[in-house]
């Protein structure tokens, strides 16, 4: 009993001591998050000035970051903040800057160029953005000229949208047991192909909604061993466009980490579909799609929202084919900016270097989500 009291007293004492130490002598990053009182103050070099700005952005100390800028007369603090956190609700709105990199590009006695690479943590994973900053020397201090990107403003207008919408009424508990329920959408896997990668086995394929109603879809796969026993079951998670309108095709990718293709005798595919209320808008045009060769192989392009409704989050999925038309890879990217009507937003889907040479064509689809309901 007495030893228990001693342990409790020791724990309380240690906690109090650690809290005191942490409060009086916090480390730099904790201080930046907590109070902003311990930011890197140095602006004696261009890199130090950008480092200080990065810390302030990470701590969301907008007033401090704004006041350090050389060109703050050109925009307001609110515009500066919205430039980083978005004007309209999107992935960036709910993101935090987890880390940043400072890379000097050019320097003279009076001005310099530094690249600031910002690694954001978003609800769908990491997102990278980069800004090339111009700095000027003001006395003994270097100051950043922030390259403000003012969001395109959609002029006030009425856009008539003759949109299609599907609503679903399911059977109720009071119905006769023989009464029909609404039929689940008919979907079909039109292509499936396993690929062995260093990190494991990957299943690639395409799923078609061959029905006349919208479908919420997902795909799971079970690997079967040579002795006919299941090895593992995995789903496509978000590497698929979950909502398919009639006759729409989505690629899918299912990862089986640490599984070798040589251990697999067969694969049991299980496409799932259910009826969901859906809207046929917004229509997103994918412009200037271009396959860029290695190094840094990628698929780039621009998304343009042709409807009047803002698409807050866009998920771009690229299906890559070889010369024979077989799927060799599926890549995706979440666009962290909202798609405003008629305002192009760039996307960039990374392609693994070793596969880039095999790719001869691609097909891109976009899934969008609007706040207040998925579209």
């Amino acid at each position: 009993m007495s030893s228990g009291r001693l342990l409790a007293a020791s724990l309380v004492g240690a906690t109090v001591a650690l809290v005191t130490i942490g409060t009086l002598w916090p480390n730099a990053s904790a201080a930046a998050y907590a109070s902003g009182e311990h930011f890197s103050e140095s602006t004696s070099t261009p890199e130090a000035a950008v480092q200080s700005l990065g810390e302030e952005i990470r701590a969301q100390a907008w007033d401090r970051a704004y006041s350090s800028l050389a060109n703050k007369a050109q925009f307001t603090e609110a515009q500066f903040q919205r430039d980083l956190t978005s004007y309209y609700p999107d992935l960036r709105t709910y993101a935090t800057l987890s880390s940043f990199e400072v890379q000097p590009l050019h320097a003279s006695d009076t001005d310099a160029k530094v690249q600031l690479k910002m690694h954001w943590s978003t609800v769908v994973g990491p997102s990278l953005s980069s800004r090339e900053l111009h700095l000027i020397k003001n006395g003994n201090e270097w100051q950043v000229e922030w390259p403000i990107k003012k969001e395109a403003v959609v002029p006030p207008q009425v856009i008539p949208v003759n949109y299609l919408r599907w609503d679903v009424i399911n059977r109720t508990a009071g119905d006769d047991w023989g009464a029909q329920d609404v039929e689940a959408p008919h979907v079909r896997i039109v292509d499936m192909h396993p690929v062995q990668r260093a990190e494991g086995l990957v299943l690639l394929g395409e799923l078609l909604n061959e029905d006349v109603v919208p479908a919420y879809v997902s795909v799971t796969a079970t690997l079967i061993s040579k002795d006919q026993k299941p090895i593992e079951t995995e789903g496509s998670f978000d590497e698929i466009s979950h909502q398919l309108l009639p006759k729409q095709v989505t690629p899918f990718l299912i990862r089986f980490p640490n599984v070798s293709l040589s251990d697999v005798a067969s694969v049991r595919m299980n496409p799932f579909s259910t009826l969901v209320p859906a809207s046929a808008d917004p229509v997103i045009e994918i412009e200037d799609e271009k396959l860029n060769p290695a190094p840094d192989a990628s698929l780039t392009g621009q998304l343009t929202n042709q409807s009047g409704q803002i698409a807050n989050v866009a998920h771009v999925l690229g299906t890559f084919y070889d010369k024979s038309g077989q799927v060799v890879w599926v890549g995706d990217e979440y666009v962290d900016h909202a798609l405003l009507p008629q305002t192009p937003v760039a996307f960039n889907i990374h392609i693994p270097e070793d596969l880039a040479r095999k790719i001869s064509s691609e097909r891109t689809v976009v899934a969008t989500y609007s706040f207040g309901g998925s579209e």
Partner: protein
């Protein structure tokens, strides 16, 4: 030989008694129709209690031995095997009776699948009917069930099927016209109706036209129809793809009022194609 005759008669009597499932003093009908009136005769004298127990039903009745006990219509209505027990202060006897479903159909449960399918599919629709009597007992004796699939624009398909173990099933073709078909199963004057939605199939001969619209090219499909001539429903996705040098533009456009329409960048020499699902349409080379 004389000595053997009483043994033979006694054995036969016992055998018949056992076959009827009753003792000498308890005369129970071997079977009755569900809901029918029936009687049980109890031999002897004095008072006793009669129990009848079966699926979801138990009847207890005080009876006078030596008299016939009458049970009115509707007393036993759940089909199945029942045990009859007669308990008196001095002895107890047992028997059994079977309650069979009524032969007159009174209810029909009809399962039709699917509720929605493409037009012109052979044996695409299945219907299964279960025939019940007035007390919801499945009628296991063969009954003729007629199935009819009809819509206003095509002749009705009618077939008659005999039930087996209470169920009758059928496969039918979907018609070539889209719309809502009435699928009816009927036994006597009892019927059950389901609706089967027949929807257009894949687009057939998808064709688009292009015309200049400022610095854009306006692409528009002809009214999109399936191979039976039905209009493909609005909301169906049509994909327009424009390839120019190594650059491509793609738009997924839903059909609205039967056509898909979109503006794309006008690039001289661009190849523009159209597709819907796995169906490819025509290709245009833009030369303006």
């Amino acid at each position: 030989m004389r000595a053997r005759l009483p043994i033979l008669v006694g054995g036969l009597s016992l055998g018949i008694s056992a076959a009827l499932g009753q003792s000498d003093d308890l005369r129970v009908p071997a079977s009755i129709e569900a809901g029918a009136a029936f009687s049980i005769q109890c031999g002897g004298s004095g008072k006793a209690t009669l129990y009848i127990a079966g699926p979801s039903q138990v009847i207890k009745r005080d009876v006078q031995l030596g008299e016939t006990t009458w049970f009115p219509a509707g007393s036993l209505y759940n089909a199945g095997h029942y045990v009859v027990m007669l308990a008196s202060p001095s002895s107890s006897q047992a028997g059994s009776l079977d309650v069979t479903p009524s032969k007159k159909p009174a209810d029909l449960t009809f399962i039709a699948k699917p509720s929605r399918l493409q037009v012109a599919l052979h044996n695409g629709i299945t219907g299964t009917a279960y025939v019940f009597d007035n007390y919801k007992n499945l009628i296991t004796t063969p009954v003729q069930v007629s199935f009819e699939l009809s819509n206003p624009s095509t002749p009705a398909q009618t077939r008659t099927v005999q039930t087996r173990d209470g169920a009758a099933w059928i496969e039918m073709d979907s018609t070539s016209r889209e719309g809502k078909d009435r699928f009816v199963a009927q036994v006597g004057n009892v019927s059950s109706e389901r609706v089967v939605g027949q929807v257009p199939g894949d687009p057939c001969s998808l064709k688009m036209n292009a015309r200049a619209s400022g610095d854009k090219v306006q692409l528009q499909t002809d009214p999109v129809r399936d191979c039976s001539g039905n209009a493909v429903p609005d909301g169906t996705i049509v994909t327009f793809t424009e390839s120019y040098n190594d650059v491509k533009s793609t738009v997924d456009v839903p059909l609205k009022q039967g056509i898909a329409k979109v503006d794309m960048p006008a690039q001289r020499g661009a190849i523009i194609s159209v597709a819907s699902g796995v169906v490819l349409g025509n290709q245009i080379r833009w030369e303006q």
